[in-house]
């Protein structure tokens, strides 16, 4: 038994933790797109959603659909689920939901075991960072193209661009759950401190650098910058002047440590990628100068420490989540926050428009049609709001069409089921800066289509080499991003180590797969 447990915690366990973080990078609440685009006016929730089936007046027999999702029941979930199931019945969808939550740390493993054993359930959350590629390869989940096409509300609630960019082998293998259309990464800083030292509002990384050095020099109780060690790879993005501008640079392939150079049409390792050159240099310098904490490799409490007013700046992403984590900073006397995003009106960063999470239907489910009926039903604003924000008046109240004010602690993890770019509301206490950037990130027009859009790495052919290069992300790439390992030394080391274990084969395979999607040449 000890062994079984060990694998449980090893295989999925650790994944889930790191992946939980990764998962949040891409999908987030979105408010932006006006709900008018969904063609379903809010409030018309009672319209029969089961468009694919002839309307009939006789109540349908109710089938219970079993779902597995990561996380735990939100407080007050029973009441909301009861209301959802009643409404499903009233709307004659013919289904009720039986949602089973599995702890994040065990989710990936448990679901793959249930799939392997052929257990019948009807829907679950999968993703490329979980086991989606293996599930698709083995035919364990079914394509949804026709089912989606027959369900207008569902189809309309997700922009065409997003459907298009989230196909696997040309097919819809899961409903993409997400809100933003690309990533905008920057800094969140203490505005009050910046004003105290008479600095102008930072626009560039260099301005932020100046602010950080000023804090270092003049503040005794407040230290310059904090980020969790595990998330320090973000430094390799935000410390680049051109991170959000879309200027010619190497593009991250989404395979850790490998980048794609659009000018040379070539895949390169982090040791020679232009885009991380400047961040590595800067991190090295900051670490040496004490701008980055000596403790960075071990840091796990960045959020709390920043909230406690112990640091002047931290990492920010316009994803609708990151900014909300730091509202407690405002409780410190005189503290104010502002977002610094090196970006101007001409900037259009690349995006693959790929989402992180997908609602998938296992082959073993006998009720794929009904699952999609429910997904469609949940794409109607009133139903969506009921599931995601709870019972109106009790759990939340509307703040216009795209905002809400939470009244209870009910928090449904929307990324498992309900996130729709056209339907999302933002909490009313979001920072104005944060809201602005989040809305920008939610619009497809804010981004340029990445030359490698459509590429998802299938490591099957080179899995031995891939498994051998992966550990260097933790042992070399992260310390390099943290500045703990000096840029020149670290890059040489990464180069030697990755190529030393056959990393060239991984590079070649990525190159081949990018070429195959028709952009390599």
């Amino acid at each position: 038994m000890t062994k079984t447990k060990r694998y449980a915690s090893m295989l999925a366990g650790g994944l889930a933790l790191s992946m939980a973080l990764a998962g949040c990078g891409g999908n987030n609440n979105n408010t932006s797109s006006p709900s008018a685009s969904s063609a379903v006016p809010s409030g018309s929730a009672s319209a029969s959603p089961a468009a694919s089936q002839p309307a009939s007046n006789s109540p349908k027999e109710i089938v219970e659909l079993k779902a597995y999702f990561p996380g735990d029941k939100p407080a007050g979930f029973e009441d909301v689920l009861k209301a959802v199931n009643e409404k499903l019945k009233a709307d004659n969808v013919g289904a009720s939901l039986n949602i089973n939550f599995l702890p994040w740390t065990d989710y990936g493993n448990s679901v793959s075991v249930k799939m392997s054993a052929g257990e019948a359930f009807d829907m679950y959350l999968d993703a490329p960072w979980l086991s989606m590629n293996q599930m698709i390869a083995s035919g364990s989940i079914i394509p949804l193209d026709e089912l989606v096409a027959a369900r207008p509300e569902l189809k309309a609630s997700i922009p065409d661009q997003m459907w298009e960019s989230n196909k696997f082998g040309g097919k819809i293998m899961g409903i993409p759950l997400g809100t933003t259309q690309g990533t905008l990464d920057g800094f969140i800083i203490r505005k009050d401190l910046r004003e105290k030292y008479g600095l102008p509002k930072p626009e560039t990384v260099a301005d932020v650098e100046k602010f950080l050095y000023t804090v270092k020099e003049k503040e005794t109780a407040i230290k310059p910058f904090i980020i969790d060690g595990r998330k320090a790879d973000k430094l390799s993005i935000i410390l680049n002047d051109d991170a959000n501008t879309g200027k010619p640079s190497d593009i991250f392939t989404s395979v850790p440590m490998f980048y794609y150079s659009p000018t040379d049409k070539k895949v390169v390792g982090a040791w020679e990628a232009k885009t991380v050159e400047q961040p590595f240099e800067r991190a090295t310098k900051y670490y040496k100068d004490g701008i980055l904490s000596k403790n960075i490799a071990q840091e796990q409490n960045a959020q709390t420490l920043f909230n406690q007013g112990k640091y002047a700046a931290t990492y920010y992403a316009a994803d609708g989540v990151e900014g909300l984590k730091y509202l407690d900073v405002l409780k410190n006397e005189g503290a104010q926050l502002e977002v610094v995003m090196p970006h101007d009106d001409a900037s259009k960063p690349y995006s693959t428009f790929q989402q992180w999470n997908f609602l998938a239907v296992p082959k073993a489910s006998k009720h794929a049609d009904l699952v999609m009926d429910v997904a469609n039903w949940l794409s109607i604003k009133g139903n969506h709001d009921l599931m995601e924000y709870g019972i109106e008046g009790k759990d939340w109240e509307a703040d216009g069409d795209t905002g809400y004010k939470p009244l209870s602690s009910y928090t449904f993890p929307g990324y498992v089921l309900t996130w729709r770019p056209t339907l999302v509301r933002t909490p009313s206490n979001m920072l104005p800066d944060d809201k602005e950037w989040f809305e920008k990130a939610s619009k497809a027009e804010s981004f340029n289509l990445s030359p490698i859009a459509g590429f998802t790495f299938d490591a099957e052919q080179v899995k031995t080499e891939y498994a051998k290069t992966t550990p260097f992300f933790d042992s070399v790439f992260l310390p390099l991003s943290q500045g703990v390992l000096a840029a020149d030394k670290g890059k040489a080391m990464l180069n030697d180590k990755v190529l030393g274990v056959g990393g060239q084969k991984v590079i070649d395979e990525i190159q081949k797969q990018i070429a195959a999607i028709g952009v390599g040449n």
């Binding site: 062994k3 060990r6 694998y7 915690s9 090893m10 295989l11 999925a12 650790g14 994944l15 790191s18 990936g108 793959s112 799939m115 392997s116 052929g118 979980l130 086991s131 293996q134 599930m135 390869a137 083995s138 035919g139 364990s140 230290k223 060690g229 595990r230 395979v255 850790p256 904490s293 000596k294 403790n295 490799a297 071990q298 796990q300 082959k363 490591a459 899995k463 031995t464 080499e465 891939y466 498994a467 051998k468 992966t470 550990p471 992300f473 933790d474 042992s475 070399v476 992260l478 310390p479 703990v484 180590k497 030393g500 274990v501």
Partner: protein
């Protein structure tokens, strides 16, 4: 000797038929292992397969030894192997020694209340999860000004850069391990000591032996079989790094990998991107086979010295 060694099958069967109760008693337990351990054992095949979720374990294609490749040809293979064995040996030796000393000392204590209370208290660390322990370690040794360094400085000692000094960590981990596990192990030893016949002590006291002599000549030798069994059981898992412990304490601090990275943490990192059942099972199988080889060798040696102390 009424032992079955070297005798024919027929003899064994008649013996079994003649003592139905003796063998019958074993049946429920054996059945348990058969159902819950031996039925699912075919899962070992997964290490030699290209696992496919739809085809299952038996239906998936054979992959030969391909799943083993990555691990054996890994860059840090020897370092990881060395760390795994070294840490496990340190854990086994120091925890056992500490537990033996503790249980022997308890045997000498006469104050009933001291004995009871202290015994309960040393068992407490066993209940703390590694994650909580990791949080405490991080809080005392990590951060920009580790509290432990403040203590060192107040004692006039030089501060230590704990999170950088990989050479210190095998010892730190051993201390933590002894702290967490010695209480548990000492309960086992105490139970064994309690089983020692009172007559032996009586006889020794009549001979005028001192407490120390009694301990060294009676208690300790009679404890040896239990110590050996516990050690042999631990030897079987000597290739298995304690993932829960090491990951909770070391986490992702790459500066400490040179001495603390073990097979299980390494495999965990290798599989972060690629979640391959076949490859991780292959490593698990390697660990089990090596453990078996070691345990059989150790058992063989033990058996030659004292049959009572051997596992089988």
């Amino acid at each position: 000797m009424p032992n079955g060694r070297g005798r024919g099958m027929r003899y064994k069967l008649t013996q079994i038929a003649r003592n139905p109760f003796l063998y019958g008693m074993a049946v429920p337990g054996l059945l348990f292992f058969l159902i819950f351990s031996y039925f699912p054992i075919y899962g070992i095949l997964i290490a030699f397969k290209n696992y496919d979720f739809q085809k299952g374990i038996t239906g998936s294609e054979w992959a030969g030894f391909k799943n083993f490749n990555y691990f054996f040809t890994s860059d840090d293979f020897w370092t990881i192997l060395r760390n795994t064995l070294l840490l496990n040996i340190m854990f086994i030796v120091f925890t056992t020694v500490a537990a033996v000393i503790i249980s022997l000392m308890f045997n000498e204590i006469r104050n009933k209340y001291f004995k009871r209370i202290s015994q309960s208290l040393i068992f407490l660390p066993y209940f703390m999860s590694w994650i909580v322990i990791g949080m405490l370690v991080q809080s005392f040794l990590g951060g920009e000004q580790p509290p432990v360094n403040a203590w060192l400085e107040s004692l006039g000692l030089a501060p230590v850069n704990w999170m950088y000094e990989s050479a210190l960590w095998p010892w730190l981990l051993t201390v933590i391990r002894v702290w967490q596990g010695a209480g548990y192990l000492s309960i086992i030893f105490l139970a064994a000591i309690t089983g020692i016949s009172e007559d032996l002590y009586e006889a020794a006291r009549i001979d005028g032996a001192s407490k120390l002599q009694i301990m060294m000549r009676i208690t300790l030798p009679l404890l040896v079989p239990t110590i050996m069994i516990m050690t042999l059981l631990a030897v079987g898992r000597i290739f298995n790094g304690d993932f829960a412990m090491i990951y909770a304490i070391i986490g992702d601090n790459s500066l400490l990998y040179p001495t603390t990275d073990v097979i299980d943490t390494f495999v965990f990192r290798s599989m972060r991107q690629l979640h391959d059942f076949g490859m991780s099972s292959a490593v698990g199988l390697f660990q089990s086979v090596m453990g078996l080889v070691f345990v059989i060798a150790a058992n063989w040696i033990t058996r030659r010295i004292s049959k009572e102390s051997a596992l089988f």
